[in-house]
Assembly symmetry: C2
Homo-oligomer: 198 residues x 2
Amino acid sequence: MADPSLLTQLIESLRRLPGIGPKSAQRMAFHLLERDRDAGRQLARIMAAAMEQIGRCERCRTLTEHRRCQLCASPRRDAGILCVVEQPSDIVAIEQATHYDGLYFVLGGRLSPLDGIGPEELGLDRLEARFHEPALREVILAISPTVEGLATAHYIAELAQDTDLQLSRIAHGVPLGGELEFVDGSTLAHAFAGRQGL
Amino acid sequence: MADPSLLTQLIESLRRLPGIGPKSAQRMAFHLLERDRDAGRQLARIMAAAMEQIGRCERCRTLTEHRRCQLCASPRRDAGILCVVEQPSDIVAIEQATHYDGLYFVLGGRLSPLDGIGPEELGLDRLEARFHEPALREVILAISPTVEGLATAHYIAELAQDTDLQLSRIAHGVPLGGELEFVDGSTLAHAFAGRQGL
Ligand SMILES: [Zn+2]
Ligand SMILES: [Zn+2]
């Protein structure tokens, strides 16, 4: 049997994208090859650069190709408010749905001792250090209301206990057990505006 | 305003894939960056190679990175039967759904004078030349039964008029006006087995 053709390899690679079945992968491959090779070339170039160059922001841990992400580096964001989220995608959702203009901190997950995810894995030492920076006034916990999320929020609230920070957590409208990423924008905006003190 | 981040560029490039909206593109980008960079690197590498190296088979006009595609080069295919299709994707559909073991010829479209698509654009001179190769016994037209498809089939049937070729066209089960690519496999297999002489 000969090596699989480049076309077959392309279809198989596209199938590794989440949510893409064999029919979709095939349609994508033929579309690019027959109608839009420029899009294919551009995707290949940017994909390669992104996989090599994108790391974590040294300040908020979101994904960025710079040492500090654009939000952390922006002079237009209010450094007095910090919103703690689980994933970089939560930042995108909040930026699109709300008028929040503070900064973020990305945990990268939720406390889950059985999976070996403890405070260190979530960067909670770094988060605690930020709690003691003088510019900070307020912390918003935008963590999914799952069991592990609630435990994580509780742990973070304890880290802030001996500070004067105003602490709140977004609440109304996010369905219990729901992932922020899949909540529609207006629900999220509502939950954000209706955050509750802890 | 700074240049868009590499992450934003990646999401925009993914959106150029057919059927991919902003949410899906975002989910793909985060999935690759956070959970499967190997898949991203592989896709980038194969995509770049495919866009540069894949051309048309000199014999059947399907997509391939070689001068002749694997089917045309295979000694196991019956060179006595030729199946004429519109698109390379039709070959994939027929190979998956039927036991056809002959060769193919890809038109790349249908006759459409108003769009400037005439016999030359579809390679009908090359197809006619193949009709006169002594090994060929049978020709199957697997062309969508649209108005233009029927006109194309009619034109091809005239090209075969002064030969001894057995000419047929697949018929049963393919919905009128339907595109082969979107017909389910068993319908297509049925249509293939029930092809009718012209
Ligand atoms: Zn940052
Ligand atoms: Zn070929």
